[in-house]
C-alpha cells in the first residue's frame, strides 16, 4: 500500500476551507503531545497558549498591537507579490520609515504643534518609499534581481540606525547609552483603552480593507494580477511591467515605512538600536499564510501574533521555555503549507499489487 498524490483538474473549493482548519487541528494535537512529553498537562498548555490570551481585554489589545505592523507590512507585500515583484526588504523599509519618522521628535523636539504628528507619519511613509525605490530603480533600469538588492538593503538600513543611535542621535541625558531621547507626548500616537492600542493598529486594518477593495473591485487590481500571472498577456493589454514594479515597491515600501513610524511613535516612544523583532520578514510569512488576500492577512497576522503572546503567557503560568513558541510557530507554518497541497492534489491509496499489474 502506498499513498499517491493526484493533481486535481480544478482546485478544490472544499479544501480551501478545510485545509487551514486541518492545519490548526494537527498543530493542536501534536502540540498537546509535546506538552505531555514536557510534563505539562496538554489541556492546560493549550489553554495557556491559545485561550488565555483571548480572555482579557488587555491581552486582546496586546495581540492587536503585536499583529498591527505584521498586517500593515504584509498587505503591501501581497500587492507586490501578486504582481510577481519580490520585495524581500520590508524590514529595511520599516527601519528607514522609523528613522525618517523620528527626525522631528529627535532633532526638533520643541516643535509640538498639532501638525508634528501627521508630518512624522508622512515622513515615515516617504522614508519607506525612498528605500524601496532603490531596488525598483535597479530592477527597471538595469534588470538587477530585486530579491537580492532589497534584502541587502535591510542590513544597510539596520547599520544606519545603529550608527544614529550610538552616534549623533544619542540621548544627551542618557549616560551615553545607545538610545535616542524619549519622544515628547506630542510626538506619540494617540492611544485607546487601558493598554497600548494605538492609532497605527486601526490604520493597518483600514488599509487592509482598502487594498482588498483595490485588488478585487478595480481595474488596477486586475492589472496587478494579470501582470503577475502572465506578463506577456499584460503587455498586450497595454500594461507596463516596469510601471508595475515601481507601483509594487513604492506601495509596499510606504506601508512598511508607516509600520516603522507607528512602532517607534506608538509603542517604543524612542529610537533604540533594535526596533523590530523581524516584523518585515515575518510579514512575508503572514502574506503567504493569508494566501495574498488582504482580508485573510488580517487573520493570519492575528494568528501569528497569538503564537507570540501565547508563548509568553505559557512561560509565566506554566514555566515552559520560550522555545515552545518557536516550535508552535514552526509546526503551524509547516502544517498550513503541507495541508495546502490538498487544494490542488488529492490523495489516493495505491495497492502495490495493482500497481505492479499496471506495469505488466
Amino acid at each position: 500500500m502506498r499513498l499517491e498524490l493526484v493533481k486535481r483538474q480544478e482546485h478544490s473549493r472544499l479544501m480551501v476551507v478545510v485545509s487551514p482548519i486541518l492545519a490548526i487541528t494537527l498543530t493542536v494535537i501534536l502540540g498537546g503531545g509535546i506538552f505531555a512529553l514536557y510534563g505539562v498537562s496538554p489541556l492546560e498548555g493549550l489553554y495557556a497558549f491559545f485561550i488565555e490570551p483571548l480572555n482579557s481585554y488587555w491581552s486582546l489589545e496586546e495581540l492587536l498591537v503585536k499583529a498591527g505592523p505584521l498586517i500593515l507590512i504584509a498587505v503591501g507585500l501581497c500587492v507586490c507579490f501578486l504582481s510577481n515583484t519580490w520585495n524581500i526588504g520590508a524590514e529595511g523599509q520599516f527601519t528607514i520609515g522609523a528613522i525618517f519618522g523620528s527626525i522631528i521628535p529627535i532633532l526638533y523636539p520643541e516643535w509640538t504643534s498639532g501638525f508634528a504628528l501627521p508630518a512624522m507619519i508622512l515622513m515615515g511613509a516617504i522614508g519607506g518609499m525612498l528605500w524601496a525605490s532603490i531596488p525598483a530603480l535597479l530592477k527597471t533600469r538595469f534588470g538587477t534581481n530585486e530579491i537580492l538588492s532589497s534584502l541587502m538593503l535591510v542590513y544597510v538600513a539596520q547599520y544606519l540606525l545603529d550608527y544614529l543611535v550610538r552616534g549623533p542621535w544619542r540621548d544627551p541625558d542618557g549616560f551615553n547609552f545607545p538610545e535616542s531621547r524619549i519622544f515628547d507626548s506630542a510626538h506619540v500616537l494617540p492611544k485607546f483603552g487601558d493598554g497600548r492600542l494605538h492609532l497605527g493598529v486601526l490604520i493597518a486594518i483600514v488599509v487592509a480593507i482598502l487594498i482588498w477593495f483595490l485588488l478585487s473591485k478595480t481595474l488596477k487590481g486586475f492589472e496587478i494580477k494579470v501582470l503577475g500571472q502572465s506578463p506577456r498577456a499584460g503587455r498586450f493589454a497595454g500594461f507596463s511591467s516596469n510601471r508595475m514594479v515601481w507601483f509594487g515597491f513604492l506601495l509596499s515600501g510606504a506601508f512598511a515605512g508607516l509600520a516603522g513610524v507607528f512602532e517607534v511613535s506608538g509603542s517604543i516612544e524612542q529610537l533604540t538600536p533594535v526596533i523590530s523583532p523581524g516584523y518585515g520578514f515575518t510579514a512575508i510569512i503572514v502574506a503567504f499564510l493569508g494566501r495574498l488576500n488582504p482580508i485573510a492577512i488580517i487573520f493570519a497576522g492575528l494568528l501569528l501574533g497569538l503564537s507570540y503572546i501565547g508563548g509568553e503567557a505559557a512561560q509565566v503560568s506554566l514555566g515552559i521555555s520560550n522555545k515552545m513558541t518557536n516550535v508552535f510557530q514552526g509546526m503551524l507554518l509547516f502544517f498550513v503549507l503541507a495541508c495546502d497541497i490538498l487544494i490542488h492534489y488529492r490523495v489516493r491509496l495505491v495497492n502495490p499489487r495493482e500497481a505492479g499489474n499496471d506495469v505488466a
Binding site: V65, P277, Q315, V316
Partner: protein
C-alpha cells in the same frame, strides 16, 4: 435518611475544615517574584547568571516566595508587554534584567504604583523602580594585573561588544590593573558589535592571536574566544560565568556576575515590608561580583589575585583615582581626586597612553 444526614454533616464538616485551612494560608500567600531575561537562559552568560540567582533565592526562601521568568525579551515593545503581564498576574516584585528593559519598566511602573520594580544596569530611579548593577570593572582590574603578569608581549587581545560606558570603563580598569605590573601594557580591541556572536568572536580571537597577542580578554558572552585560546595554547579570562569547562587549560579566572546575594536582600526587604526604591551599584564589598577560582597560573599569582580583590573590597585600592588623563591629553581626575559614580557611569573615553582608538 440517616445516611443522607450523615453525608451532609460530613460534607459540612469537611467544608468548614477547608475554610479554616484556607483562610490563614491566604493571609500568608507566597510573594510572587518575576524575572524578565533579555536572552535565552542557556548554560552560561548574562541571563543564565540571573536565572541561577532566581533558583538560589527560590531554594533559600522556600514556600515564602514563588518565582517565574520570561526569557528572550530583547525588544523594548515586547519588554513592556512582558513586564506588564507579570504585574497584572499578581507579581509584586519584578526584576527586569537588561538595560533595554529600563524605559519599558518605567512606563509600566507608572500604571502599577504598588508593584515594586528593579532594573539591572538601569539608571532611572522612581518611587517604585530601583536600578541596580554590579561594579564588574573591579574584576577587570584584577584580571588586568594577572594578564600583565602572564603576557610576554605586553599586549592583550580584547573582544569588545559595543563602545558604551560599561565596556569602556571595563577596558580602562583592565589597563589600570595591568599598568600596576607593566606600565606600557596595551590592549588590542576588536569590536564585534554584538553581546553574543560565537562566530564573530572566534574569528576576532583568531585574528588577534595571529597578530601576536598572547592573552585573551572578552566582554562578550560566548565561550568562543576562550575556546580559541585553548586551541592555540594561550591563556584568557571568562566573562559573566565561570567558563573553565569550555577551556579548562586556558581560563585563568572569570568575572562572574553574582546576583544571588542582592536578590536575597531585596526579597527579604519586601517580606519585611521595608523595601525602598534606591540605586545600588555594588562590587566585591556587596558580594555582587565574584571571581572564578584562579587556575593555570603559579601560586604567587593566585595569591596576588586574592590580595587585590581584598584590597579593592576594603577600599585600599581605588581604581579610578587621579592623576588620570584622557587619551586626548585632557585632565580627567586631578591628583588624589576620586571619580564620582556619575563620571564612571558616563565614561566614554580611553585613558592616556592607550594606543587603540575608540570608535565613534
Amino acid at each position: 435518611m440517616r445516611k443522607i444526614i450523615a453525608m451532609i454533616s460530613a460534607a459540612c464538616a469537611a467544608f468548614a475544615l477547608n475554610m479554616t485551612s484556607v483562610l490563614p494560608s491566604q493571609a500568608k500567600e507566597p510573594l510572587k517574584v518575576g524575572f524578565v531575561y533579555v536572552g535565552p537562559i542557556s548554560d552560561h552568560g548574562w541571563s543564565y547568571q540571573h536565572d541561577q540567582a532566581r533558583i538560589e533565592v527560590e531554594k533559600y526562601f522556600g514556600d515564602k516566595i514563588k518565582t517565574s521568568f520570561i526569557e528572550s525579551v530583547s525588544k523594548s515593545s515586547d519588554a513592556e508587554r512582558a513586564i506588564e503581564r507579570l504585574a497584572r498576574s499578581g507579581y509584586e516584585l519584578i526584576f527586569a534584567t537588561s538595560f533595554s528593559h529600563m524605559n519599558p519598566t518605567i512606563k509600566v511602573a507608572r500604571k502599577f504604583p504598588r508593584v515594586k520594580f528593579e532594573t539591572a544596569t538601569g539608571y532611572k530611579l522612581t518611587k517604585n523602580v530601583a536600578p541596580y548593577g554590579g561594579r564588574f570593572y573591579e574584576g577587570r582590574f584584577v584580571i588586568g594585573q594577572l594578564a600583565a603578569k602572564v603576557s610576554k608581549t605586553g599586549v592583550a587581545g580584547y573582544i569588545a561588544p559595543f563602545a558604551i560606558p560599561e565596556v569602556i570603563r571595563g577596558m580602562n580598569a583592565f589597563v589600570l590593573g595591568a599598568r600596576t605590573v607593566n606600565p606600557d601594557f596595551q590592549i588590542k580591541p576588536v569590536w564585534v558589535n554584538s553581546w553574543y556572536d560565537p562566530g564573530r568572536e572566534a574569528d576576532a580571537a583568531k585574528a588577534l592571536i595571529d597578530q601576536g597577542v598572547d592573552i585573551m580578554v572578552q566582554h562578550t558572552d560566548s565561550p568562543a574566544p576562550l575556546q580559541v585560546a585553548q586551541e592555540r595554547g594561550i591563556k584568557g579570562f571568562g566573562q559573566a560565568s565561570d567558563m573553565s569547562r569550555f577551556a579548562p587549560d586556558a581560563q585563568i579566572t572569570a568575572i562572574v556576575d553574582y546576583w544571588g546575594a542582592y536578590y536575597k536582600r531585596r526579597i527579604q526587604a519586601v517580606l519585611d515590608g521595608n523595601w525602598k526604591a534606591e540605586n545600588t551599584w555594588g562590587g566585591f564589598n556587596q558580594d555582587m561580583v565574584h571571581m572564578a577560582p584562579v587556575k593555570n597560573v603559579n601560586a604567587e599569582l593566585v595569591a596576588l589575585a586574592k590580595d587585590t580583590q581584598k584590597k579593592i573590597s576594603d577600599g585600599k585600592i581605588v581604581i579610578f583615582k587621579g592623576p588620570l588623563k584622557r587619551q586626548d591629553g585632557t585632565v580627567f581626575l586631578k591628583d588624589g581626586e576620586v571619580a564620582t559614580d556619575k563620571q564612571l557611569l558616563e565614561m566614554n573615553f580611553f585613558l592616556e597612553g592607550m594606543k587603540a582608538p575608540l570608535p565613534n
